[in-house]
Subunit: 174 residues, 2 copies
Amino acid sequence: MDISTVNSLPYEDFVNIFGNVVEKCPIITAAVWSSRPFVSLSALEAAISEFIDSLPESGKEGVLRCHPDLAGRDLRRGTLTRESREEQARAGLHALEPAEASRMARLNEEYKQRFGFPFVVCARMNDSTSILRQLAEGCRSELAAERARGIAEVKKICRVRLRGLVLDDVSNKL
Amino acid sequence: MDISTVNSLPYEDFVNIFGNVVEKCPIITAAVWSSRPFVSLSALEAAISEFIDSLPESGKEGVLRCHPDLAGRDLRRGTLTRESREEQARAGLHALEPAEASRMARLNEEYKQRFGFPFVVCARMNDSTSILRQLAEGCRSELAAERARGIAEVKKICRVRLRGLVLDDVSNKL
């Protein structure tokens, strides 16, 4: 799909296709439809990013709280969204060694207790070792810094998901 | 469940239980968790209402676009959320006469073409006749007025759904 096709979509199709580029936040996709047409994939990405930035701090925390734990209950129960399942699997989080799995679970709990939202990272840009390292660092960080880091990761996840759905600008020019 | 139980919920349980009080917008529930404890059910309702009001106009349109058509494709396909299914059924929208059904479908399309979001009304406070009347009136209305009316209906739907989940303040005082 190229950007001109994206721009021609009625909101229902737009939300059906792009509704989960920010995990479980179809409202964000549904909101940026108001800003079409987009001159490029980057412009669509920027509109999503700006919408997230426009949210109050509680809203940014809300975005983070819509994310599942990494290697957590949803992965074990099979209740992850399709996108999260694929991303966590590619990072090897479905096949952790027992010691790694229990360390991840313990750190996830510690992180959530401390900040009131889950540790969010772009799994597609990491492996289980780098995720565990960042999670451990996050547990020693501060609220505002972790909220900002988490939101920056949400935007990376969004970029990866969008690029899986829309031809990027260079391709469009070919 | 009373409000003190609500206030004791970790965010994951809070979002699991209340995530759909605004249709397909768990981010809103997840955001207001930051404002707990709530002194009453009304205070929780007010926090949700204020969060919606804090959204840019595009965000309010995004909230509306997360709602299904009344007596529309999701009802026919069985893909409504549990809450919407019950509400639409109670208003008799699952059992429209063929002539009513086709009029509703035609007006829904006209409305969406005109405004870029669906007609939203609190089905639990209406029946199919009053819904059809308001939908026909809406089709002749203006964008800003319909956006505001739709958001007011979103808040009514939210109130009804919340009151189905939490004992109201009077009950709590008994």
